[in-house]
Symmetry: C2
Subunit: 421 residues, 2 copies
């Protein structure tokens, strides 16, 4: 990639984030953050500056960047006491909440090193992660309920890229990862905005089809997977574009290839095998499966990271139950690339997935106006955490089962089994 | 400079900052900041990481870094409204105050681009600066009164270095500035710690000599300068090392070559010409002189930046009066380098200087236990600002005048005119 081509793509990417992702409104404040690393990584500065330019051009009132540095985070893990490691910078949370409460938008830029904390004691990691979820919960409550327009996107980084492209030199890997990000976010297309409009429309059609069907449950079948998941009455399907409570249409993830709905917190039976590793909290959980009874995980099995996974599921009652069921065809542009990104926000767009933990109230009709208890009575799950894990593959079949027991194919061999045209 | 030599010097510099500058105590928290750029510049990351290592090795409880980016600051100045530009990130102030209130230490790393805001309207700059002083005042109150151990030091940067070394290529300038920083902080000496102990002792001897003299006033004479400054009864001389109220001995500036005392807020008569430009708030004020009557600036004259200087002096009543009188011999290592650093914290060690604005209560006997009003009655000045400007040169003569009118030489041709051995 020539330097000039890179600059041009970076600018197009920044514009896409501001205009399609956040759809930033005139006069809005913008917080640029990365909660999981306690600040946007420093090497993302060239992108952050382009985004700031684009935000001001779009009429932003202000742009405030909350920076962080994984190298410092690692030094804290290696040297500080457990109590200190678990202490999340509360001034960051306060600063971000101030912007949200003023109606401002929130942009996350992820470029996490998935293996940063690979040598840290899993127990310590789990305790720190539990404290992290607690500390950032006020922010996740606001974004998770679409109080304001928000967006999560990625930047290449020298620490992350070599994990994605292990055979390339570090410099090539860094550049390859930027090129991959530009491709999967459609930035390399002549008119990224138009490409996104077409893409969003297709996802909306699929999502409307399934919402009208109101299946009572889904039955997932694949090697190592035989799982039935109930879908509450009035479940809504979401896709790329959401309407925030501040009146702004936005796209919460760039890229996004999924459509998703609300699983019933008490209705999951059987076993499901993850088809992709799960990077979580600085380590990677690999080759794992979960067994459900009455909606609750009763058995955890993992070749790597089992302890961290078990601790994650033990975070609270809701962490052992499902909060999201999402469909992604196996021919999505990200799946077609045929490699992992070791970034759940991207990898979740390569395969059908489920999430344990907190469900989105907006995936239930009238869910936004329910109390937590009422939401739970309707099947909506609550938890401090929300973690996606990938279960899809070209061997995944999914059936939709209606109230009266009719079985209809939704996916076959990982591809859509219904037409919307 | 070889890469290995650079790494070694960077590590020695970090150790010097932790052990001599801050003298960081076991169990202390450490905030790494730069108020004037709303965060430590991102390119200082290699130094910040070494300091973090060194801090943990010294037994720090925690290290928290408040990052900022001048490129984003400039975009805000160019695009945001006056109201927004004047809004300093209050979450940074809160986060830093939280650390200070826990007894933690504060380290400032400066690498400001002195010309960043050269094209911004001076009125806007002055308004933003006034709001800045107001916003950061709680922190300056605490460090200015030595509540905790604190230190101000520097890092080379791609934006700052070319201003210091305009004839070098940008890469050479960046490296030259690092070398200069290592030299003026004695990091390039075989045992920097021992070199600092010897240096601190000499400054202490000079300072004890002058404190015992208790001169009633100083008379400054040089081309363009004929100024008499009263020194209050009980004025104390400070030098490199201070004792913080948390019981820790520390060196507040690296480098430091000055000894300093309290001028009487109502006793300055005559004219003083600055001998070095004054970088302030992103522009450089050049070729200026101030005329004093009854301790107050009554006339400002500057070839460049006069408006910004006048606005600065108009900040509040105390901004037009003196808060510090400092002596630096013209053969100090920094003066001998023969070039400007465009960084007042370094340049102030190249020449005798005065400061307008806030005086340090610890430069008056018993000053720490006085109210602001009582401190003022004894001649101590108060203001939101504290700005040093350089008046020394190889043509500067200073006389000390005792209570009974005896005139004694303190400096001649910019060099010490008394012996302490």
């Amino acid at each position: 990639m020539l330097a000039s081509e890179f600059s041009e793509n970076l600018k197009k990417y920044a514009d896409l984030i501001i205009h399609v992702g956040l759809n930033l409104g005139k006069g809005q404040r913008l917080a640029i953050i990365n909660l999981s690393t306690a600040g946007v990584q420093l090497h993302a500065a060239p992108l952050v500056r382009e985004i700031t330019c684009s935000a001001f051009q779009a009429g932003a009132e202000d742009v405030e960047v909350f920076w962080g540095d994984e190298a410092i985070n690692l030094l804290r893990y290696e040297n500080a006491s457990e109590k200190v490691i678990a202490r999340y910078p509360s001034w960051q949370v306060k600063g971000i909440m101030d912007i949200i409460e003023s109606g401002g938008a929130v942009l996350t830029i992820r470029s996490n090193n998935p293996d940063l904390l690979g040598n840290i004691d899993p127990d310590l990691l789990s305790k720190a992660q539990a404290a992290y979820w607690e500390a950032v919960n006020p922010i996740l409550e606001k974004t998770g309920s679409n109080t304001v327009n928000w967006c999560v996107t990625s930047a290449s980084s020298p620490d992350w890229a070599p994990r994605v492209f292990p055979l390339a030199s570090p410099e090539e890997a860094y550049e390859n990862l930027w090129q991959a990000i530009f491709q999967i976010t459609r930035v390399d297309q002549p008119d990224p905005g138009a490409a996104w409009e077409a893409h969003i429309k297709e996802l909306e059609s699929r999502s409307q089809y399934l919402e009208a069907k109101q299946y009572a449950k889904f039955h997932y079948q694949a090697p190592g997977t035989d799982l039935t998941v109930g879908l509450p009455k009035g479940h809504l399907w979401g896709s790329a574009r959401d309407l925030a409570k501040n009146g702004i249409d936005f796209v919460a993830n760039l890229p996004t290839e999924e459509i998703f709905t609300l699983p019933h917190r008490e209705q999951a039976e059987g076993i499901v095998r993850a088809t992709l590793p799960l990077p979580y909290g600085g380590i990677t959980i690999e080759d794992f499966s979960l067994t459900f009874e009455n909606g609750r995980v009763v058995k955890v099995n993992a070749k790597k990271g089992e302890k961290v996974l078990q601790n994650l599921i033990d975070t609270d009652e809701g962490a052992a139950r499902l909060g999201e069921a999402a469909l992604v065809p196996h021919n999505s542009p990200i799946a077609q690339r045929g490699h992992l990104f070791y970034n759940p926000l991207i990898d979740e767009n390569a395969a059908c997935h489920l999430a344990i933990g907190k469900a989105y109230p907006f995936t239930l009709k009238g869910g936004d106006s329910l109390s937590k208890e009422e939401f739970a009575e309707h099947g909506g799950n609550n938890s401090l955490i929300h973690i996606d894990f990938m279960i899809g593959s070209n061997e995944m079949d999914i059936d939709g089962i209606t109230e009266d027991g009719t079985v209809e194919p939704v996916m076959r061999d990982g591809l859509w089994a219904f037409d919307v045209y």
